[in-house]
Amino acid sequence: MGRFLIRRLLWLIPVMIVVAVITFVLMHAAPGGPFDKDPSQRQIDPTTQKQLNAQFGLDKEVWFDFPALMQGNIAGFFDTQFITYMVGGTVNGKWRCGFICGNMGPSFRQRGLMVQDIVLDPPEGKAPWDSKAGYSLRLGFIALIFATLIGIPMGVISALRQNTPVDYASLFIATSGVTVPNFVLGIFLIIIFAVGLKLVPVVPRSWDNPIVWILPAVVLGFGLLASTARLTRASMLEVMRQDYVRTARAKGLSQRMVVWRHMLKNALIPVVTVMGPAFAGLITGSFIIETMFGFPGWGRQFVLAIGQRDYSMIMATTLIFALIIQIANILVDLVYTFLDPRIKLS
């Protein structure tokens, strides 16, 4: 167990490095930098541009300087942007620790702000959960709760009443949830409830009103709701045929006891294991939904950053997302052994 955990955590390092390298290379391969192409705003004059590039280290060598390293010029290797960003390096003559210290660098476009402040700090005078990360996490949690509280009972009831209209109705909902992509569902709901019936604004100005949270949370959680319901149903049907369930009934236990104590406990194991990656998906994969609803979370921040070529912001959000997904997968493996001692980690 301990060894497994250590190995998985160590494996995180190369994965994160590869993710970082790919993002870095792709970002810099994009023509145009954060300071030279901005048709929507006034053009920056060349002197200022040069100065800004120097200030943010964009005038330096971008790629890994492998030839320099081969010749034993280690300083040359470490003087590249990537290393400076990830580990640390001298910026404006001062040593600064990099991403590994949680320092995600100054934002290229929101002047004077560090990326971690933009993503993690709430605006002036607001509670901590009003930060970009807080918004996304809250939306993810609401969607998860919505999906679980409806999906699991739906699956259980539809298994207990197999082949009745209740079962067919819930199967229909579940199947449509699995087949209709969530952004398409979002479009349908926005058009019906915001454009057509005008119950909520298309893009809410303020997110303080809980009603405007309903649509994005439903859209985000619906896919998970559907797959949870399907999985719970399949797994319940499997468990219902087991001998120990028959034994429990033969003992004269009430239906409630059999369902809660004997069936659910076992039927939910596979369901719980998909929850981890699903939750990671909910809080990281929501950038389309966030963009669609103008939701002030980090997913939308990521899309904006891409448009603005805010290199440090793109890098930081990608790495945070990748890390969340990795950790969720590790947690699932751990939870799996905890729930089902027959499974051995290797």
Binding site: M27, A29, T179, V184, F302
Partner: protein, 331 residues
């Protein structure tokens, strides 16, 4: 009273004999035919193919022709609550017109071609790549197998949509992004991520097949490794390959639509002689900007994407049940 059982006369033998022997494919097809959802999916998929291939014949208007003074027209039959501008529609535009007066239906039909190509070309590519690498890794094991699995780990930990967004953004304005309206770049990005899933499935199936006795028998009569892989293993792992391919297609279509919706999709062509006039992703983006004026501009491509994805998913589900009845109901 015991009677001597003669082969062919016991009820069970008769039951077996009444059914003529069938090959895997005939058998699977007969099971698939009984599955209503799968048949519905098949109809949707065939309709989609027909729409894409015969698009120019079916489209009522030129998708790029601008009808002056006819912008933002709703469909004639649109319910009132989906007609915010209260304009009266023109019967010649079944789904209304867009912000500069082009026919939405014709644009939708032309857009189907991009989705079809995006669904088919990378699928062929990733299937070939996934099969060859997965087969090789599973069969020979060792370093190659290890490398494949590590690579898979990395690809799986990269949020895939994030990867597409970064790739499309980075390379869109480069020479790669200019080829064929950016189609080549899109293919490449989709292929890099998606071949891994197929390779993994093929590898897993190969691992379980290669321990079977008939492979051992083939070895013992001196069959070459290449021939074993091609003649003995590949035919036996075809069903999981077909199933995973059927599920890869809708994912590719969704990805194109999402990227288009975020403004990172293909560049629409400028003349109707070009093959790619528009795509469903671009239509979604145009529709999003006009959401308050003509909701059908957004609704129509959204419904189209939903139907096609539904068709492929139902078909995939049906194929899984038909080709491997043991897996029925596990999804």
């Amino acid at each position: 009273m015991a009677t001597t059982a003669v082969a062919g006369h016991r009820p069970i033998d008769q039951a077996i004999n009444t059914k003529p022997p069938q090959g895997l494919w005939v058998d699977a097809w007969s099971r698939l035919k009984k599955n209503k959802a799968a048949m519905f999916g098949l109809v949707l998929v065939i309709g989609f193919f027909a729409l894409a291939i015969f698009g120019p014949m079916l489209a009522p208007h030129d998708p790029l022709k601008i009808y002056d003074g006819k912008s933002f027209l709703p469909p004639v039959w649109s319910p009132d609550f989906l007609n915010p501008t209260n304009k009266t529609g023109d019967p010649q535009f079944f789904l209304g017109t867009d912000s500069i007066g082009r026919d939405v239906l014709s644009r939708l039909i032309y857009g189907a071609r991009v989705s079809l190509v995006v669904a088919i070309v990378p699928t062929i590519f990733i299937t070939i790549l996934g099969i060859s690498l997965g087969l090789f890794a599973g069969y020979s094991g060792g370093t190659i197998d290890n490398l494949l699995m590590r690579f898979t780990d990395i690809v799986y930990s990269f949020p895939d949509l994030l990867f597409f967004v970064v790739v499309m953004f980075a390379l869109r304005d480069s020479f790669l992004g200019d080829w064929a309206n950016g189609l080549i770049l899109l293919f490449g990005a989709l292929a890099i991520v998606n071949w891994v899933g197929i390779a993994r499935v093929v590898r897993g199936s190969t691992l379980s097949i290669k321990e079977k006795e008939f492979i051992e028998a083939a070895h013992s009569i001196g069959t070459s490794d290449q021939s074993i892989m091609q003649r003995h293993i590949l035919p036996n792992i075809l069903s999981p390959i077909i199933i995973i391919t059927a599920f890869a297609v809708p994912r590719l279509i969704i990805t194109e639509a999402v990227l288009g919706y975020l403004g990172l999709g293909l560049r629409p062509g400028t003349s109707s002689q070009e093959f790619f006039v528009t795509s469903w992703g671009s239509l979604l983006l145009e529709g999003q900007t006009a959401i308050n004026a003509q909701p059908w501009m957004l609704l129509a491509p959204a419904i189209a994407v939903a139907l096609v994805v539904m068709g492929f998913t139902f078909l995939g589900d049906g194929l899984r049940d038909a080709l491997d009845p043991r897996m029925k109901g596990t999804g």
